[in-house]
Subunit: 121 residues, 2 copies
């Protein structure tokens, strides 16, 4: 494979809530996604999910608190934990999660992406 430049890959798409695969290793995916607005409450039964903010501010609502992430901050949502990403303004995120991870977890929604697109090459 070749190296991946995160900013170059982010410049290749402008849709929201559609994760793009930019790397795969050890059964895990590295994905990039742009978010704006409120997502659905959901959880992942068997996957922990890492959100790293590359640009902007992301609030991850949990049932008992909000986690507010700005650039260069990450949070790991453990498997089974209900969460709802909220982006008041556009935010750019790197996700690190198992290949099996569905973006809406246990919920079927109009924004469910069952087969994320790869933009590795």
């Amino acid at each position: 494979m070749d190296k991946i430049n995160l900013l170059e890959k982010l410049s290749q798409f402008n849709d929201y809530w559609k994760p793009k695969i930019v790397g795969e290793l050890n059964g895990q995916h590295i994905k990039l996604v742009k978010l704006k607005g409120e997502f659905v409450w959901h959880h992942h039964d068997i996957e922990d999910e890492l959100f790293l903010v590359l640009k902007g501010t992301l609030t991850i609502r949990l049932k008992d608190r909000d986690v507010v992430l700005t650039e260069n901050e990450f949070f790991i949502v453990p498997r089974g934990i209900e969460h709802k990403p909220v982006a008041i303004k556009e935010v750019h995120i790197l996700l690190f999660e198992p290949v099996s991870t569905l973006n809406t977890g246990n919920v079927q929604d109009s924004r469910t992406v069952s087969r994320p697109v790869s933009i590795i090459s």
Copy 2:
């Protein structure tokens, strides 16, 4: 867990070639490490290893080519592939790799870190 600020965690240590654990999920570690100089040639038998440059420039020497990474660029070294990280000046790296990964892979060296320190909390 709480959120992790990468720059804050990087400010907590100044030693080279000593990966620090800042996250764990799905059997994988997120580590931060500062590198300067030339590392040893090595490979990992069963682990793919991701290097993401947060600051500076890293050259990953492979047997057939060099991969030069600057800020916001990553490269995945597949399992079994010989590689040698080289940092002419100090470089700050985020690593994604399985919990089982030893920094020097198949090689025992004075810089082998068999039990990386966690700085999550």
